[in-house]
């Protein structure tokens, strides 16, 4: 069966994910070492140890994301996160930075290493380099590849691959985007945040609600209409005579229907985005996807009914997995 890798922003969400059928749960420490560094989220070292014990008692794994790029002069914070993950009994760490990978390989050789999507290793040469240099055992593929390209990559590498199937969608190659820091000073790579809420301002202007990020207008919607969160790359802009979602519509990723193709492409694990999501959401999504991977493993059709409800109210895309997206 394909491994289902599920998000947990809090210990409660982790317990919910495990009880709903997650094979693995990924989470991070409550600081800038992880790429979901949001207020009120994430784990203390003590939380992490308890979470690992809870998961292991139920046959699930815990993967600790330490996937920002350490700040020059402040590497010990990231090195401590590695030590804390190992101490907590984590099954693997998810890393993006070359220096941190080198440190982990040298000082924590028995701590299994996964390559974060934030490293954006998009071809076999890059993946094999990380495997050879740092003994990386699994790579989370960037969301720039088609299913065919993923299959071709798997033919040329030894390590496992994991792909995102559901949730938020990066439009840009992950870990190689400074749009957020251009507008707000804070970025995924440096601070673990993208389009951060404390830089968002809403203003009622006439009949519209305008959402600005760092003073730059991202959306203008009629007051009565639902206003999407002003994530920079999903904003509405003008270029020449055209106004619209120049980079991407405010959609989320849903590659559920591609699970059989991804399995045939040799993908080992399916990842669900959403560490910032509620426990109830995690429970619902994890249950649905567990049913889907079980059906796939048994050669049964996917239980579409369970999944169609999840994206209700929000448009979905298969993203780069379909070549026409490009």
């Amino acid at each position: 069966m394909m491994e289902l890798v599920c998000p947990a922003g809090t210990p409660a969400a982790l317990r919910a994910a495990v009880e709903a059928g997650a094979h693995s749960v990924y989470c991070g420490f409550a600081d800038e070492t992880n790429a979901r560094n949001f207020p009120g989220l994430n784990f203390t070292p003590e939380d992490m140890a308890e979470a690992v014990a809870f998961a292991h008692a139920r046959g699930a794994k815990v993967l600790v994301a330490i996937n920002t790029f350490p700040r020059a002069g402040a590497q010990p914070l990231w090195h401590r996160a590695l030590a804390n993950a190992e101490q907590a009994g984590a099954d693997a760490v998810i890393l993006a930075d070359i220096g941190l990978l080198a440190h982990a390989a040298e000082h924590h050789p028995n701590l299994r290493r996964h390559l974060s999507v934030q490293a954006a290793a998009a071809n076999p040469d890059a993946i094999n380099l990380y495997a050879d240099a740092f003994d990386v055992r699994r790579v989370v593929l960037p969301r720039v590849l088609t299913v065919e390209e993923i299959a071709a990559i798997n033919r040329e590498i030894e390590v496992e691959t994991e792909v995102f199937v559901f949730g938020g969608l990066c439009v840009m190659a992950e870990g190689r985007c400074s749009l957020s820091s251009y507008a707000t000073g804070l970025s995924p790579n440096m601070n673990g945040v993208c389009s951060p809420a404390n830089h968002v301002a809403y203003a009622e202007e006439g009949r519209d609600l305008v959402a600005r990020l760092g003073g730059f207008a991202i959306h203008r919607t009629p007051k009565a209409a639902p206003a999407p969160y002003p994530t920079l790359c999903k904003g509405c802009f003008t270029s020449g005579a055209q106004t619209g979602h120049i980079f991407e519509d405010p959609v989320s990723l849903d590659a559920t229907h591609l699970i059989p193709q991804l399995a045939r492409a040799g993908v080992r694990a399916l990842k669900i985005e959403g560490r910032q999501r509620s426990r109830a959401y995690v429970t619902q999504v994890v249950r649905a996807f567990r049913a889907a991977v079980e059906a796939e493993a048994a050669g049964r059709p996917l239980p579409a009914s369970a999944l169609s409800r999840l994206t209700e109210g929000q448009a979905a895309t298969a993203g780069a997995y379909a070549k026409t997206w490009r």
């Binding site: 070359i98 040469d125 890059a126 820091s181 070549k323």
Partner: protein, 299 residues
């Protein structure tokens, strides 16, 4: 401190490329990185210009390196990347996969699209053979200074993005094609209409970004005009000047005057402002508080 001309980000005609490098050969810069780093589909239209340009630049006494693509996904792109190492010039690695074909110990340069944020990464690359690293544009001065110190110890020259629209993101999707309701595979090379990128404004009419095929750039031109002394003190070895379609020789001359003949920050700013596409400058990544800021506005 000296000057490096970075690889051109845009899709220019072969004639424009030829004229550009003829100018660069006589410009007061120490080195030049040449090649396609944004979109491999453009390369057949101008690659025949590359050998002649390299020869002219070498004859003019410039150091020359060839860049890899910033995002390598196709088989053809992997072959292209592997071929770079056989040209006998340093490769500027802008996607880590380029290292695959560079034997360990062979000197190479690292471009701004590789995430060098800390000493650990710098030292690993130095051990692998890196001799020169152009840092990612989003780094603040404190990080630049720490990396310049680490670079000095490891024998790696540190470069900073000194002039040009900042490369903010790279994607699998082509935004130029999308703006024309096309997919990347049927783009019909519409990016050639925008030799400095296509401007993107907010709904308030505020200049914001520029799209360049699969790349997204800042609308403002990053300029270290007011940061030069701080960067020099920090031990930065070179400033990178990123090509623009008009007035680039004057940009090089202005910067050479700032480095070597005491041209003031304000005077350089006054020279640059009419030259840069869109007329806006920024230095906020280095000086704060946000990338789009211009430090001189705050004083």
């Amino acid at each position: 401190m000296d000057l490096t001309v970075g690889p051109n980000a845009f899709f220019w005609s072969a004639e424009a490329v030829r004229a550009f490098y003829a100018d660069v050969a006589i410009a007061p810069v120490a080195r030049v990185v040449i090649g396609e780093w944004v979109c491999s589909k453009r390369l057949p239209f101008w690659q025949d210009e590359i050998p002649g340009a390299i020869e002219a630049l070498l004859n003019a006494g410039k150091e020359v390196a060839v860049t890899s693509l910033a995002l390598v996904t196709l088989k053809r792109e992997r072959r292209l990347t592997a071929d770079l190492a056989r040209l006998g010039l340093p490769v500027e690695v802008n996607d880590l996969s380029a290292l695959h074909s560079i034997p360990s110990g062979t000197p190479f340069w690292v471009g701004p699209m590789v995430n060098v944020y800390n000493e650990g990464t710098l030292n690993w690359l130095a051990r692998r053979g890196a001799t020169r690293i152009c840092l990612p544009p989003e780094l603040p001065l404190a990080s630049v200074a720490a990396l310049a110190r680490a670079g000095a110890e490891a024998g790696v020259a540190i470069e900073v993005w000194g002039h040009g629209r900042a490369p903010l993101a790279i994607s699998g999707r082509c935004y130029h094609a999308r703006l024309h309701d096309r997919a990347k595979d049927s783009c019909q090379f519409v990016c050639e209409n925008d030799p400095d990128g296509r401007d993107v404004e907010t709904l308030d009419g505020q200049a914001f970004l520029a799209v360049n095929g699969v790349q997204t750039l800042s609308h403002s031109t990053v300029s270290m005009a007011h940061q030069f002394e701080g960067l020099r003190e920090a031990g930065v070895a070179a400033l990178r000047l990123s090509p623009q379609s008009q007035g680039f020789a004057a940009v090089c001359d202005g910067w050479a005057a700032r480095l070597n003949s005491g041209l003031s920050a304000g005077d350089l700013e006054a020279r640059l402002r009419p030259l840069v596409p869109g007329g806006r400058l920024s230095d906020g990544f280095v000086a704060g508080p946000v990338g789009a800021s211009w430090s001189a506005d705050a004083t």
